[in-house]
Symmetry: C2
Subunit: 328 residues, 2 copies
């Protein structure tokens, strides 16, 4: 990229003006691992910060086959039709391995990918989950500054990616489908704790009854869990991304949540906590990078880790040794 | 303590010989924050490491009123009667604030506290949860080296203490009680993910029916969650710490779990992962201590944290500034 294009001020101006090309270029800058690019990216994000935070941040996860793409395509189209500008981002740590991206194939979201009021960006493929999540966060801020008022962040649910997405969004939506026959698809452990809503997809045709049964089961399961917020009881709904039935209800719940949590001040608190937690995560990433970077330290860490795993070295002693190498 | 008493070798010998006085003294050393004591403690743990790992490590949590103390008293007595040596430890971060300890009052466990085959130690009161947990872990290792073959670690469930206890035990038991009337006491979020068994207490007298209903509700809730291990389906049982009814069944499940998970190799894997995770937690604690320790760094971190919370400073920039101060 030329020096002009890398000037944070002009990039920021282009983004604020809603220039998609500039936005795309800025995201590429965010995703770059080059030191000078990182510096410029930091300044850009800092410059745009005042223009961020106005969007509804919606996290979506669902097992393969739950219909994430068709749901986002239907929901996104429903939203742009009613005047919203929608950005679709993703956190997919595996994309760094495959080199590709879960959003690479535009046909995944046939209608939305052609929608001028929608902006779809594949997951960054930059190694660690922390790294991928950090870049997606910054991309989210850029999209907000560009005027997108609904940011959808999807995840395939590899490892801890659901937690990472829940930690950067206001509302975490878990998509399920009624299993074939009487077999109920179980909720991945850890996810039920993050869910602000569970939506059972494919409630269409002769599958409606099965979807309702699944929803009832999920409801009975959730009612024995203490709600995370006194303001919000986690709803369980059914819908069909195929026919579009229930998509409006799905969104109404999200909007209702945003209203209630804003009024109670919980939304502000949640975002504040997310920001601070993110800062600490980044700091830990820095430490981890330092541990990987220095050959001496890296060697010591590898050695210590295996000795600790083997039970021949006490973790406390291992940490003493590593810390002394780091001057901590 | 005198130099002799602080000699790791002689402390280790006394512990291996099952000398309760030496064990107690060694734990006091473990809990000491004095730098030289820490060093000696590290060497002691390292020296005893080969003698550890042979106990069943049982974590227990339960809401106030669930009857944790009476349950541990009944279970512990049941175990010592059948030839086990039982150590009861605790992770109670709040004890550092109150200065007291949830185990301070021996009358909490009337029978067990007088049992020569039981060793009860209050929670260390050393500030952060990480600090408290680390000391309880080391205390657990000392107790194993002293010949205790069942280590019970209880937690009141303040903040993340359940996760800390689940991360240091083989089996995490969640105690519940049937709520008064039809009101079902909800499971604290996050706990259902950790539970290896849910036991509904106070299944006695005219409360038996209510306890059974509660158990059935918990079962129906758990069946929609994907089990953490293919080897273990989380059982939901009822029992009475008061009458002792079901205490044997409760323990049989724990023993059964230990057998199955040992056979499948999952127990070894779980402990290995716990060790490594612990090492990283300790390293993060060290970094955090460094951040708190240095006045310059501390000031910068406070300032950065509030600016990030206020949304006026990008976390990435904040981390740049802190990292440069730390030379990371």
């Amino acid at each position: 990229m030329s020096a002009r294009r890398l000037d944070p001020a002009s990039l920021a101006a282009g983004i604020r003006a809603g220039d998609r090309a500039v936005l795309a270029r800025a995201i590429t800058l965010i995703e770059s691992t080059r030191a000078d690019h990182r510096q410029t990216a930091h300044r850009l994000v800092q410059e745009l910060l005042p223009a961020t935070g106005k969007a509804v941040r919606l996290g979506i996860t669902g097992a393969p086959g739950a219909g994430k793409s068709t749901t986002i395509d239907a929901l996104g189209t429903h939203l742009t039709r009613s005047g919203h500008k929608v950005a679709v981002l993703a956190v997919d740590p595996s994309s760094s391995r495959t080199g590709g991206s879960i959003l690479g194939d535009k046909t995944r979201m046939a209608r939305l990918s052609l929608d001028p009021d929608a902006f779809i960006r594949p997951s960054p493929s930059s190694g660690t989950l922390g790294g991928v999540a950090a870049k997606t966060r910054e991309t989210m801020l850029l999209c907000e500054a560009a005027g997108y008022d609904v940011i959808i962040v999807e995840t395939v649910g590899v490892g801890q990616s659901e937690t990472a997405v829940a930690d950067m969004t206001d509302f975490f939506l878990v998509l399920m489908v009624a299993g074939s026959g009487d077999e109920l698809q179980g909720i991945k452990k850890g996810i039920v704790e993050l869910a602000d809503m569970i939506a059972v997809n494919k409630a269409d045709g002769d599958n409606i009854a099965r979807a309702n049964v699944a929803a009832a089961d999920f409801r009975s399961a959730l009612h024995i869990l203490q709600p995370r917020s006194p303001t919000w009881m986690v709803p369980v709904i059914t819908y069909s991304a195929l026919t579009g039935a229930g998509i409006d209800t799905l969104w109404n719940h999200v909007a209702d949540y945003q209203r209630k949590m804003t009024a109670s001040g919980e939304l502000t608190a949640r975002r504040r906590d997310q920001q601070v937690k993110w800062m600490w995560t980044l700091l830990e990433e820095r430490l981890a990078a330092r541990l990987r970077g220095d050959p001496t330290v890296r060697g010591k860490v590898r050695q210590a880790e295996s000795a600790v795993a083997a039970g021949t070295l006490a973790p406390t002693l291992a940490v003493e040794e590593i810390a002394s190498l780091l001057g901590l």
